[in-house]
Assembly symmetry: C2
Homo-oligomer: 245 residues x 2
């Protein structure tokens, strides 16, 4: 695969010129040892172009001109928002990487009652960087929207959806399977689905009680999945049912 660079702008047509941001410029110049005249691939906001490098000087943003629009993968059959806790030990980072590969459009990190990991703007920037790298590698052309919420309830309220499209993966739920719940709701791009999962040690009962009016608890089966496993399993199950693969 040609080296791919992200540009956070609407890439519209051949001939348009644009600049790589500092990190991407650094990567082109210092890591890839690129030069003016090189052909690279540019992606962003769902588009993908081949491009020629016009200017590339140390400590300056690299300037490119779009050459040709390139085909993009088929769009996702459903809009998914994964609501995940901050987890220690780099696990939120790994999760964001994997959810990006899967095509998940929204990722909300929330502060869970049983988890002491810190969030914050610097960490969010790092997650966005991880998402860019994952997009480069998997061939995705638009970044997931990643943000932070103070608690589970606020996280769930970020996106308007009926309570049966806001699913909580809750280990104390014994009856309603994820897939049973999914079969009762529309799975398409215009009906966003929220999948919320808990920290190591699980959601506190308070936390789940506080969202009982606006969300539905489901089970992921009789075995207890780790905090960093459950979101990926739930997203994969949902995409399977929605016909993504």
């Amino acid at each position: 695969m040609t080296e791919r660079y992200h540009i956070d702008a609407n890439l519209e047509k051949p001939g348009q010129s644009a600049f790589l941001d500092d990190e991407e410029s650094h990567h082109f110049l210092r890591v890839m040892r690129g030069r003016p005249g090189d052909t690279i691939e540019i992606f962003g906001h769902g588009h993908r172009f081949s491009a020629e490098v016009l200017e590339a000087k140390k400590n300056q943003p690299v300037e490119i001109t779009l050459l040709q629009k390139l085909p993009t993968p088929e769009p996702m059959p459903i809009t998914i928002c994964c609501v995940i806790p901050w987890i220690r030990g780099g696990k939120s980072e790994t999760l964001v990487q994997k959810l990006t590969e899967l095509g998940i459009q929204h990722i909300i990190l929330f502060h869970s009652k049983r988890e002491t990991a810190h969030g914050g703007e610097a960490k969010l920037s790092r997650l966005r960087r991880i998402a860019i790298e994952a997009c480069k590698q998997c061939g995705r052309n638009e970044l997931p929207i990643i943000h932070e919420s103070e608690n589970l309830k606020l996280a769930l309220e970020t996106i308007v959806a009926p309570s049966d499209s806001r699913l909580i993966l809750y280990e104390n739920e014994r009856t309603l399977n994820l897939t049973t719940a999914l079969k009762k709701i529309p799975l398409n791009p215009t009906a966003p689905l929220l999948l919320a999962s808990g920290p190591e040690g699980g959601f506190s009962p308070d936390e789940v009680a506080a969202v009982s009016e606006i969300a539905t608890s489901v089970t992921l089966g009789p075995l207890i999945l780790r905090a960093e496993t459950a979101p990926l399993v739930a997203a994969s199950a949902t995409l399977a049912l929605a016909g993504r693969f």
Copy 2:
């Protein structure tokens, strides 16, 4: 959850006595600072018992007696064998942990043409240890069977199955979706399903050609999943279709 200890034996009825192995004995004595008379939980070969510790002396196997049979989670609706490459950087280890949590019954590590990671008996022992720890944490009561194969073809031949129940997640396959393939075959415990995935960089065309008679290539969608992501996504999708969650 009570501290859980694995015993590699058929646990049959209350009153039976047994010994923990060296690692589990060490864990009981030195990590948990356990003593004779303590009540612990024992699992193995699909069974689960409460047990009382009879003898617990430094550098000796801990002896226990079974007290009461405990309920076990509902069995898997399908038998899955994940065929995964050795991957560097601890990624095979993470995968074995997560596949164990999912309940996957067989895991075969193979040497892929494009991957230079080494396997071997010491690494397999380490993977089995990781599987025991995962079982303790997720509530599973029988270990996955983990072994090693020289190449993809031998790995696939380990388990007798028709070619449409041996699925290769192949990035050059563009047409046949995993879920479309799954809908054409029986999904139940007596019809084992093999899910084989490639290393970083993907299967070599040779490798896939060599199994074209005995297996079926499928796609996991238009985005390229990492070597350590694809098996987990495929297993989750399969379990969703088989009604596990």
